[in-house]
């Protein structure tokens, strides 16, 4: 289950949907909007998502994790749009018979989500400026 969400993520409900009597371990990861980044005070942020490809690539990542880790159940939801400090930007949850696989699978998924999905983050700073994260080197005018 991979989704792009326009509204608040509910980790408790998503976790409950992974319940499995054969699972001994649940590992969950959440990315929260924090109030600072690289020395700047952050006011809020904005995710731009290209959904058709984000969804197909997100599903591929979950399938890769299930191939690597037997008996894994896994889900991931990523927000788009405007988020405030403290909001949950991304949730990853996995269950597995044992904890080692649960931690490794959860980590695999969030790392791949961050590196491979067509999702961009624009930070709005307390100073009034704003900037696309990771873009400082990609554009000639930046």
């Amino acid at each position: 289950m991979f989704e792009i969400a326009e509204k608040a993520i509910d980790p408790a409900a998503l976790r409950a949907a992974l319940a499995d009597p054969a699972a001994g371990a649940y590992c969950g990861f959440e990315g929260w909007v924090r109030n600072h980044n690289e020395g700047q005070e952050v006011l809020r942020l904005e995710y731009e998502v290209y959904s058709p490809l984000a969804i197909s690539e997100g599903r591929r990542i979950l399938a890769e994790a299930k191939e690597q880790f037997p008996h894994l159940r896994a889900g991931c939801v990523h927000r788009e749009g405007l988020l405030e400090i403290g909001d949950c930007a991304v949730w990853v949850g996995v269950t597995s018979p044992h904890r080692d696989e649960a931690f490794r699978a959860c980590r695999y998924i969030i790392d791949a989500i961050k590196h491979r999905l067509p999702i961009w983050k624009k930070e709005h700073y307390v100073s009034g400026d704003s900037g696309w994260v990771n873009c400082e080197r990609c554009a000639a005018h930046a």
């Binding site: 990315g31 995710y47 731009e48 290209y50 058709p52 490809l53 984000a54 197909s56 690539e57 990523h78 930007a89 991304v90 969030i110 989500i113 961050k114 590196h115 491979r116 999905l117 067509p118 999702i119 961009w120 983050k121 624009k122 696309w132 994260v133 990771n134 873009c135 080197r137 990609c138 554009a139 000639a140 005018h141 930046a142």
Partner: protein, 80 residues
């Protein structure tokens, strides 16, 4: 010449001042399209940090483009 629709995302879209355009080009690869639209998206180093998709499939920069293709230019991603 080919007709290629180019879509710009995030910072590329802001720099281009448009979300997409259709161009006439003799570009052979996705990388050629990136280079041909450099003035639009403003990026100077494609292969390293940016990504490209052709017709909603992730692609390599040396993937061939054909008449009628849609080429999506992605600045460095930052999910999570």
């Amino acid at each position: 010449m080919k007709r290629i629709t180019v879509r710009y995302f995030a910072m590329f879209r802001e720099h281009a001042g448009m979300a997409s355009e259709t161009i006439e080009t003799d570009a052979a690869t996705a990388g050629d399209v990136f280079a041909a639209t450099r003035d639009r998206h403003g990026s100077s180093e494609p292969a390293g940090h940016c990504k490209v998709a052709i017709n909603d499939e992730m692609a390599d920069w040396d993937a061939a483009v054909a008449d009628g293709d849609e080429v999506l230019l992605f600045p460095p991603v930052a999910g999570g």
